[in-house]
Amino acid sequence: MSDAVSLSNERTQMYKDLYRGNVPTRIPVSSAFTLDAMILYAGMDIAEIYWDMTKAEAVFDKVCQDFFSDSMPGGTRRYPSFYQLLGSKPFIMGSTGTMQHPNVMGMGPEEYDEFIASPYDCIIEKILPRLYTELDSDPFSRALALAKAARAHGEEMATTGMIAGKMRAKYGFAAIPGNATTAPYDFMADFFRSFTGISKDIRRIPDKVVEACDAITPILIKKGKIPVKSEYGVTVIPLHMAPYMRTQDFEKFWWPSFKKQVDTLSEMGINVSLFVEHDFMRYLDHLYELPENTIMRFEYGDPKLVKEKLGKKHIISGFYPLMLLHTGTKEQCIDKAKELLDILAPGGHFMFDFDKNAFDLSGNIVENLKAVQEYVYLNGRYSEAERAGNTEPKPRVNRTDEIIAEIDANMNSKYFSTWSQYKEKHTELFERLHSVAAPKIEKFEDVMFNFIINLCS
C-alpha cells in the first residue's frame, strides 16, 4: 500500500469513528481556505481559474503541498460558466472574481398556492425564467440554453472531480462521499421570496409559508441523497435564516420542516453536517433534538455551553475565529487553538474547524494557518485510555430506497416521472429492454432534477 493510500485510510477511519460516536485516534483538521483564497495563494487570477477549472490543478497542488489538512481543501459548486450561459441573477461574479448571491426574488407572494400545489412545476415554469434570463425566452432558445448549461455544469464537475481524485491519491485525504442540500425555509427565502420578501410573508400570509416549506421538504430531502451507496455519507446543510427570526417565528416557520428533513436524511443512513451560521445560541435545545452524531459547525457562540449541551450526542466543530488568523500573532493563534481544544476535545465528538472560511489572504493568515494546523495535528491526539469506550459500530438503518421511491411517486409534476410512470407512457420501448433502459432513464431524470434544484439554491 502506498503512503498516500494508507494515510487516506487512516484519515477516513478517523471520520468514520467520529460519525458513529467513537473517539478517533486524533482530531481531524480542516483547511480554512475557500477556493478563492487558494487561487490567491497560488498567485493566480480568481476569475480566470473559475472560468477555466483545468488550471485549478496547480492551485490545489500548491495549497495541498504547503498546508496540512485531513480533508481536501477548497472546492466549489458555483462555476461561472453555467450561470453565465443561463443569464443568472442569483449568482454572479463580483468585480474581484468572487461568486456572490445578491438578494433576488424569483417568486411573488401571490404564487404560494401554485407553488404548494406542485413545487417542481412552479419552479420550472415560473421561477427559473425569472432567475435566469436565458430561460425567459422562446421554448427552443430556452431548451438550448438549459442543455448548454447542464453540459457545462457536468464538465466542470468532472474537471474538479478529476482534480480531487488526483489530490486524494497524492496527499492521502480522507475519502467520505458527500452531498449538500438546503433547509426548507432557507430554500424558500434564498432565491425565491428573498430575505426581505419572506420576512414580510410570515406576517402577512403565515399559513402559506408553512405549507410551502412542507411542500418543498421532500424535494430537499431527495436533493440531499448521497449519490453513491455508503455507510458514511455526509450531507451538508448550511443554515441561514433562523438567527434573523424571533424564536416564536423560528418554531413555527423554520424548525418543523428542517427537523423532518434531517430526521429523514438520518433514516437514509446519512450523517447530516450543519454549518450553523451566525448566532444559534437561542436554539441549542432545538439542535439537541436532532439525530445522534449530527455534525454542527458553529460560526458563533459559547463553545463551553455548546459542549455541555450537545457535546455528548452530536459532533461539534467550528468556533475558531478566522479573523484572528488574519490579525493575530502566531502565539495568539496557537493559544486560541489550545483554548478550544481544552474545551471541545475531551471525550471526542469534535472536529477542528474555523468559524468560517477565508476568501482572502490579508494579514498573517498564511503563517498563522500553518501554525494552528500543525498545533492541532500534534496536540489533538487521543490516548488508548480515552478510546477504550469505543464500540463496534452497528449497521445503520438505511431506508433510502423506500424513502426516495415514495418522494418520487408523490412528485406530482409534469416534468418528473418515475420509471413506472415513464414506461406506461412509452409503450414503444420494447419490454425486453426495460431492465437496461430503466437505470438510464431514472439516472437522467435525477441528473436534471439535481441540476434544477441546484439552480435554486
Partner: protein, 212 residues
C-alpha cells in the same frame, strides 16, 4: 385626530394591519399638513421602539426588514396629505456597498432606519468603487459616509475607499461609518473610519450623535 401614542405603539409592535387602518381613516378626514407631519413623527417614534427592541434582542433582522416595509407603506399612505413642503432633514448620508461585494440586505435596513430617523440618504448601490463615493460626496456634500460589506474582502475595499477620500481632500468634510458582518474595532482603526457597527439601530444612533 389620531391617537398618536397608540399609533407609535402599533408601529413598534409591527402591527401593519392596525397601522394602515388608522392611517387610512386619518387620510380620509382630509387633515392639515401639520397634523399629517405629527402622524409621520409618531410613526418615526414607532421605528425608534423597533430599534430599541432589536438592541434588546427581542426583535431580529427579519423584523427590522418588515419594519422598513411598514414605514414605507405608512409614508406612502400619508403622501396625499403631506403636501410638498420639505421638512428639515436630520442630515445626509451617502451609502453604498463597497467594491467587490454584492450584498445589500444590511445596507438597506440601515438605509430605511436612517430615513425613518429623518436623514436624507443617497444610496449608491452595491459593488461601488471609491470614485463613486467621491463623486457623490462632491455632488451632495453629505455629513456622513456609510460603507457596507459582508465579505472579508470588503474590509480591504473599505480601506481603499477611505484612502481615496483622503487623497481627494474630502476626508475632513465627512464622518465615516462602516457596517457589516466582518467589521470590528481593529478593522475600523486600520481602515481609518470614524465608527463601526454590526447593528443598524446602533449605527443610526451614532449618526444622530454626529449631526446634533
Amino acid at each position: 385626530m389620531v391617537d398618536l401614542k397608540a399609533l407609535t405603539e402599533s408601529v413598534g409592535e409591527l402591527d401593519e394591519e392596525k397601522v394602515l387602518e388608522v392611517l387610512d381613516s386619518f387620510v380620509a378626514t382630509n387633515p392639515s399638513e401639520e397634523d399629517a407631519q405629527q402622524v409621520v413623527a409618531a410613526c418615526q417614534s414607532g421605528m425608534a421602539i423597533v430599534g430599541d427592541l432589536y438592541e434588546k434582542g427581542e426583535y431580529f433582522v427579519g423584523d427590522l426588514i418588515f419594519a422598513g416595509e411598514l414605514l414605507t407603506n405608512a409614508i406612502n399612505t400619508l403622501k396625499p396629505v403631506l403636501g410638498s413642503t420639505n421638512t428639515a432633514s436630520a442630515g445626509s448620508v451617502v451609502l453604498g456597498t463597497v467594491a467587490g461585494d454584492l450584498h445589500d440586505i444590511g445596507k438597506n435596513i440601515f438605509k430605511s432606519m436612517c430615513e425613518a430617523a429623518g436623514f436624507t440618504v443617497y444610496d449608491l448601490g452595491i459593488d461601488q468603487p471609491a470614485e463613486a463615493f467621491i463623486d457623490k460626496i462632491k455632488e451632495v456634500k453629505p455629513n456622513i459616509i456609510g460603507m457596507s460589506g459582508v465579505l472579508t474582502l470588503a474590509l480591504e475595499a473599505m480601506k481603499d475607499t477611505v484612502d481615496a477620500i483622503k487623497e481627494a481632500g474630502l476626508r475632513d468634510s465627512v464622518k465615516i461609518i462602516i457596517g457589516g458582518n466582518p467589521v470590528t474595532k481593529e478593522a475600523c482603526a486600520q481602515i481609518g473610519a470614524d465608527a463601526f457597527t454590526t447593528n443598524a439601530a446602533e449605527g443610526v444612533k451614532i449618526c444622530q450623535g454626529w449631526v446634533k
